[in-house]
């Protein structure tokens, strides 16, 4: 992740560049040094010149001073007056006037020439007169020069000497000669060196704090300092240095060489010094200045030059550096650019990562927390400082949102498996502060350069709201689906291309089942039975009108069912398509059929009721008359025989005739026909609604058993069908409540059904026998049970069954498949009327050819209005 280390050494030309810089630096430094040397030498020379001039000047001045002092001693003594006066005083030594004249003359000397004392001595050294009374006696050092001056008869300066008070003095003396050249006396002028000479020596023509001139003189093996040192007061005549110390300028001077030197002085400070002999003396004058003072400027200048050089070097170095950098940057422009891009990408990535508001925790390879961002801090409730180094599981506590079981931390999985671990659903983060967040988390390994895992970065975000929204959405979706599924209709939504978008549970009954899911499949594949609705879908979409088709019969599993198909166009919200709604209206169709049937029967009933009287009367006439006819042929009646005899025939004869001519049979036919007509009328009358209530609670099983008994004794039935051969399978539910009903009517219904079934089975039996199939024993399955609000009776036979066409018409009055004359054709329709109208129940039949027939009677357990 780090930057590539800067590799200057490997840069081509960088060595050269470095050499150039070094060479420049050397050159500059060498130049500076050379300049320094040259400058120093030249300055020193210059300074030496100056010092020499000063020294020469000083020496000349001292010499001049000496000459002046000598001159001072020669002015008066060589005058005639002075000589004569002295001669005079020698003759009269007690002449006070002369003494005073000399003393005044000396005083004049003293004040006129600036001496400390002016003395007049006799050649033997005795004090004759002085400018001050009781002068300090002449010192021993002066006395030596006194002797020389006396002998030479010339003026002399003494050496410096110290007075008893320690002050340095110098004396000048000159002889006073008489005309013969004999020494009369000596004039001695005493001057304090500090008064004039020393300042003369010490003054320097230019201001300098260290410039110094002083006098020195050899004295045996030592050099003695004659004048006061400017920098060491009180040194005059007391300071001495051995001549062996030849380094000292003073010593060198004392050794008699004129010259100059740069060397440490008496203080040990480096000085430039010049010395020379003072003419006419044993003195040497030394002028010296501290080298540091003289060369300070040079040093400063050199320093400045050096600084400039250094700056130049620095500039060169910087320039070189800049060049180097520039070359480097040029050479590595691409590298830099890519690196910058990488950095920018990285920065951007980081920015994105942080700005999306996800919690980020990094952990080291021991699963210990190394970093938390702000979001992670707020979600976990841990601050960065306190979480640092803690095990990740302590900071990032997660459980399954529903089971509450701890969930494995993604960090551990990442460390173990070295893979990116994706989002785990239903994870709840337990914050340190209590709140809980539903989170989506993911972990990814952080890899070092060698590819090994150095840590894990864990990214997670609060999806509590998202989950809540998703849950809400799912609930909404589920509610919608449940709502759709709870619809009694089959619903299939298709788009404009006829692809299924959505469907409900009930629609699955229509699905082909060929594919796993009907969604996105073309309608004709998913719901082949609805494929013919495609055109309607297009039409509905085009016209935006609801298309409807009702009572479409479809045969499924041999059963015809009716459906209403409605196509609603979907044009809202950009969805183009349609919803196909399929309703199974078979029951309703049946009910409608029943209602039609019932209405039909009802009208027949009211018709019958209206004309029953008109029909019953003629029938009465027929039947009664026929009965009378039969009776009046009967031998049982007395009247018959009597009347026959009165007519000349015997009753027996008449009866025989009637039998021969089948009269009785015809009459019986009339009676039979009349009876049948009568039965029809009375049956028809049952179709009419009757509010009369004769209902009473009855047990269905008991009722059925009674009817079965009745059936076994039924004369008509017996003729075709022997109930003893029929198997009755009873399935009576126990504890069935009593059902309110009109016993005779329901008995009639059951009997009618049994008759119908018996008849069918007798036919079916023959068919089966003819086919050579094992004759199946006729069987009635009778089941009695409670079905919701109804008491239910199912009567099933194993007869041949009937086709749909027959089944649909079976409750119609006068519809019969039986041979003409074998029934009224009203049995089942009457039963229908009884169940539906009188009892408010249901009567239905299911049948298929070859599968028998099943009648289903439903009688309400509670009467309406109760």
């Amino acid at each position: 992740m780090g930057l590539a280390p800067q590799q200057h050494d490997h840069l081509p030309g960088s060595k050269t560049l470095l050499l150039v810089v070094l060479a420049t630096a050397l050159l500059m430094l060498g130049g500076t040094y050379g300049y320094f040397r040259y400058e120093m030498a030249s300055m020193r020379e210059q300074h030496f010149g100056a010092i020499s001039s000063v020294a020469e000047l000083k020496a000349a001045q001292i010499h001049q001073w000496r000459l002046e002092r000598i001159g001072d001693t020669q002015l008066n003594p060589k005058s005639w007056f002075f000589r004569e006066a002295l001669v005079e005083w020698q003759r009269k030594p007690d002449d006070d006037r002369l003494r005073r004249a000399f003393e005044e003359g000396l005083k004049l000397y003293e004040t006129a020439y600036g001496y400390e004392d002016a003395l007049l001595l006799s050649p033997d050294g005795t004090l004759l007169a002085s400018s001050h009374p009781d002068p300090i006696p002449v010192q021993a050092e002066t006395m030596r020069v006194f002797e020389i001056a006396l002998r030479e008869k010339d003026s002399r300066l003494s050496e410096f000497y110290l007075m008893p008070d320690g002050s340095a003095h110098i004396d000048v003396m000159g002889p006073v000669l008489d005309a013969a050249g004999k020494t009369l006396a000596m004039v001695l002028l005493r001057s304090d060196a500090a008064t004039y000479l020393y300042p003369l020596i010490q003054t320097w023509p230019v201001p300098s704090h260290s410039a110094e001139t002083f006098l020195i003189m050899r004295d045996g093996g030592e050099a003695v300092y004659l004048s006061e040192l400017k920098l060491e007061p009180g040194s005059a005549l007391t300071k001495r240095v051995p001549l062996s110390n030849t380094e000292l300028p003073a010593v060198r001077a004392a050794l008699g060489e004129a010259g100059r030197i740069q060397a440490p002085d008496y203080r040990g400070v480096e000085v430039l010094a010049d010395w020379r002999a003072v003419p006419g003396t044993t003195w040497y004058l030394i002028a010296k200045v501290d080298a540091s003072e003289l060369l300070a400027e040079t040093r400063y200048r050199t320093g400045a030059v050096g600084l400039v050089s250094l700056l130049c070097v620095l500039i060169v170095a910087i320039t070189a550096r800049l060049i180097h950098r520039r070359r480097q940057s040029e050479l590595f422009a691409e590298l830099y650019s890519s690196e910058r891009e990488q950095r920018e990408a990285e920065a951007q990535f980081r920015l994105i990562l942080y700005s999306i508001g996800d919690g980020v925790i990094t952990a080291d390879c021991n699963a210990r927390v190394s970093k938390l961002n702000a979001v992670a801090e707020s979600l976990t409730g841990w601050a960065q400082e306190e979480a640092l180094g803690k095990p990740i599981t302590e900071v990032f506590r997660i459980v399954h949102a529903e089971t509450r079981q701890p969930v494995e931390c993604p960090v551990h999985r990442v460390l173990r498996e070295g893979v990116v671990v994706g989002l785990a659903n239903h994870t709840a983060l337990l914050s340190k502060n209590g709140p809980e967040y539903q989170i989506a988390d993911s972990g990814a390994p952080i890899r070092g350069e060698d590819g090994g895992i150095t840590g894990v970065v864990l990214v997670f975000r609060d999806v509590t709201e998202e989950y809540a929204r998703q849950r809400e959405l799912a609930q909404m979706r589920s509610l919608l689906q449940n709502t759709l599924d709870s619809m009694p209709s089959a619903l299939v939504a298709v788009d404009a291309q006829g692809q299924v978008i959505q469907h409900n549970m009930r629609a699955m009954a229509w699905a082909s089942g060929a594919q796993g899911s009907a969604i996105d499949a073309p309608l004709e594949q998913a719901f082949p039975l609805l494929s013919r609705q495609l055109e309607r879908v297009r039409e509905a979409v085009a016209t935006r009108e609801v298309m409807e088709e009702t009572k479409i019969p479809m045969v499924t599993d041999g059963e015809t069912r009716y459906h209403n198909v409605t196509v609603f166009p979907l044009t809202e919200n950009g969805v183009v398509g349609a919803v196909i709604r399929v309703d199974d209206v078979t029951d309703r169709v049946h009910l409608e059929e029943m209602m039609v049937q019932s209405e039909k029967l009802n009208s027949i009933g009211s018709l019958a009721a209206g004309m029953a009287h008109e029909i019953n009367n003629p029938l009465g006439i027929m039947l009664q008359s026929a009965q009378n006819v039969v009776r009046r042929f009967s031998p049982d009646l007395e009247a018959n025989r009597r009347v026959a005899e009165e007519c000349g025939v015997s009753l027996a004869q008449v009866r025989r005739y009637c039998e021969e001519r089948e009269i009785f049979a015809f009459i019986e036919d009339i009676r039979e026909g009349g009876s049948r007509a009568s039965a029809i009328v009375s049956n028809m009358l049952q179709f009419s609604r009757r509010s009369e209530s004769r209902m009473q609670p009855a047990s269905l099983p008991e009722l059925i058993e009674r009817t079965l008994d009745l059936a076994s004794h039924d004369y008509d039935l017996k003729k075709k069908f022997d109930f003893r051969h029929v198997e009755i399978v009873r399935d009576y539910e126990e504890g069935l409540p009593l059902v309110p009903l009109i016993v005779t009517e329901i008995e009639q219904v059951i009997l009618n059904i049994l008759k119908n079934g018996a008849q069918a089975m007798s036919e079916g039996g023959t068919v089966l026998a003819a086919d050579g199939v094992t004759h199946e024993r006729p069987r009635f399955g009778i089941r009695v049970y409670a079905a919701g609000e109804f008491g239910a009776i199912d009567i099933e036979d194993n007869g041949p069954g009937m086709p749909e066409a027959v089944r649909r018409r079976i409750f119609e009055p006068f519809f019969t498949t039986k041979p003409v004359g074998s029934g009224t054709g009203l049995g089942l329709s009457v039963s229908y009327m009884i169940v539906i109208n009188t009892h408010g129940g249901l009567l239905d039949v299911k049948s298929e050819p070859g599968r028998g027939t099943k009648f289903m009677v439903r009688l309400p357990l509670r009467r309406a209005g109760e």
Binding site: G620, Q624, Q627, N628, G674
Partner: protein
């Protein structure tokens, strides 16, 4: 049975039916009177007291019910059988009040008039019992 025969009154406006019924009853050995309407029958009653009346309900003029009520007032001992072709006939309360119920009701057509003859005899016996 040697006593006076049972007197039966047949009231029916349908002549052929009345005739066959009268013939049957006569063959049964009853003394039979007949009328085609209630009014006619009521007119007869004071002169010809009868034991049992077989009464059609739907008559021209006064109907069977009214007749029975009137006849009962005239001859309280008289018994009645209702013989009607109307399928929707119900015995009204006034008749129930004088003891007429379902067993006195016969509907046309009657395949065997014997049941009616039996009823006449039964009513006659009951009437005697009731009177005496």
């Amino acid at each position: 049975m040697n006593k006076a025969p049972v007197r039966v009154l047949v009231v029916d406006d349908e002549e052929r039916l009345r005739r066959s019924l009268v013939s049957f009853m006569e063959d049964e050995g009853f003394q039979v009177f007949s009328a085609s309407s209630g009014e006619e029958a009521l007119a007869m009653l004071p002169d010809t007291p009868v034991d049992v009346g077989i009464i059609d309900m739907r008559l021209t003029g006064m109907d069977g019910n009214d007749f029975i009520v009137a006849a009962h007032q005239a001859i309280p001992t008289m018994r009645f059988l209702i013989f009607t072709g109307s399928s929707d006939y119900r015995i009204p309360a006034v008749l129930r009040a004088i003891g007429i119920d379902q067993e006195h009701l016969f509907r046309k057509p009657l395949p065997d008039m014997g049941v009616l003859a039996e009823a006449v005899r039964r009513e006659y016996r009951a009437g005697i019992g009731g009177c005496e």
